[in-house]
Amino acid sequence: MAPIARKRREEIAIAAPAANDTTHDQRTLGLDMLALVALFLVIVTYHLQNPILLYDVQFGSAFRNATLQPVLAVGLLGATLLLAGDFRTLRTHIVRLEAVILLFLYSLYMIMAVIFDFNMAGSLMGIDQALFLERLPDEVIRAPLESHLNITAFFEYLAILAVLMLWQPWQRFAVYGRAVRLNASPLIVAIVVLVLLEGVINIFQIEEFLLPRPSVIAATFGEIYPRLVSVGWNTFQNAFWGFVIGCGAGILTGMLSARFTGFSRALLPLAIGINAVPIIALAPIMNNWFGAINPASKIAIVAVLTYFPAMISTVRGLNSVDHLSLELMKSYAASQWEIFWKVRLPSALPFIFSSLKVATTLSMIGAIVSEYFGGTGNGLGFSIRNDAAFFKNAEAWSGIVIASLFGIGFYVVVSAAERALMYWHVSFREK
């Protein structure tokens, strides 16, 4: 029996190598992305909590958007919790535990300061809280705010140190080496394309108002990004809420129509038909329904745009269950609800998530293009259209860059959620 037992253990060892096994390094860049996001949020929130940085410094003013600020502060708390990982393993690592506690306190301080307008450090230093709400601090009140800045900079450095301790990038060079090797060719292609573009525009002396050089776009982006981040965030919110409403409704009705097969058979052909309609063409009509300056008209477009893919994938996913799995549940005399919850829904997740990932891109398209048909002046689509109309092409291209940054960010977040919920799926197992 002993050799057989050993054999079995070996099979397992091959199938699931231990995390510290250097020959089968399973680590991905997930932690690095999370740590970079955390670092970014530590620095950004530091800029948000003091009016000097918020109004006088370009980087701080980029994140001044009133609805963006609380999201960044809460996001820092979320990143802290994700970085902390499993609390049970924290207990044995004192340094990690201390780093997590430090970051947690820093996040709470920022949430109080940014969302609830109560600056704890300021209050300890005896600075009037009203000063932190000043828009353009004059010389008289500048002095206490500057000393506050010096003190809180120390907190910021501590928080950065804490992220580094949790991240430990110096132990991850092997991961970076592999990532560079795997992604070398797309990186080289991207660089070559940019360099070629720059060269071709130079050689053929293409006018700047037709196609600005990449370096010009980059310089313009560096100048105007505070405005772009703000208008981009406004548009992204439309995309996000449209995504939530459209995909939420799509998944729900998909579930209903998978449950009642007659309903599904009657509805699905119609849904597929409607899905073929270029829905963006409805934008002027939505403007009439909800009003062009009402964000609801943009959200409605995004919702309609993302609804059908989500619904069709949900129905398809719920109906693509292995039939033996269903017979197994039947042999247990399981209820419809149990079959749905324990088999159909987990089997449908891959389908649902692939439609959600498509919907992230669709929602950004919908939110931007719907603004081309009119809207408030503070959206990204409006800004791109305006800049292009006045031949400020470098500005328009910078807008396009920020649009794709928001789109990529959205996609990455949904992909991360997919990875977290479907860790068991074949596409996420060891390669």
């Binding site: 079995r8 799995s325 005399a333 088999v343 068991w424």
Partner: protein, 267 residues
Amino acid sequence: MTAVISIKSLNKTFRGSDGAQVQALEDINLDIVRGEFISLIGPSGCGKSTLLRMIADLIEPSSGTLTVNGKPAAQARKDRDYGFVFQSPTLYDWRTIIKNVELPLEIMKYSKEEREQRASEMLQLVELSDFHHKYPWQLSGGMQQRVSIARALAFQPNILLMDEPFGALDEMTRERMNNELLRIWTAIPDMTVVFVTHSIAEAVYLSDRVVVLSPRPGRLAEIIDVPLPRPRGPETRDLDEYFHLTSRVRHALRGGTMEMQKVKVID
């Protein structure tokens, strides 16, 4: 001896893809007694799986009566009187091994403690105690099938229905699984096993009786008693009686295809 499963003049017809009626099973009469290990064997398409699925009430017979534990098959299914093991392990990838074994217990509303206790007992029975928190895809095919047997037995049914459970395994693993199955069957008193297979060796080695079905439409060709001594082990396969019985099953199976072969020879 009471009949646990009683089948009387059972017929099953399917409607084929061209709309024509296809007779799958014809006039099946069979009584299976408590504690018996019985195998159904026959060529592909003879309806042996169909018969097993009708016992399990996964499909309905066209005519005839079928009782399980003295009840109509549908009632027996609702009372969870049997455990079913499919040809493929049919484990859920999103559940750990122990959670897969707990699945029927969750549906039957067992308490959390009882679920965990029974599931670990069953995993011990199939000798997979070290694998509670692994995922199915981290296990080999034979191990996965053992998990599915543990799952079928978790709620202590007194009937185990098995549909070619080892058909996808290699010969060596299959023989080891045969021994494990016999060990499990002996460990649980009064457990009735209905075992569908297309392997003559497996059927004879495991069973008290081998039911041979003829090709379509499936009829009972012969029921062969297997009086080999128990407990059985590797030495059983060397007995003269074992060879004799396997060739009897082979002849019974050939009985149905004899005419076809003759026709071929004349051609």
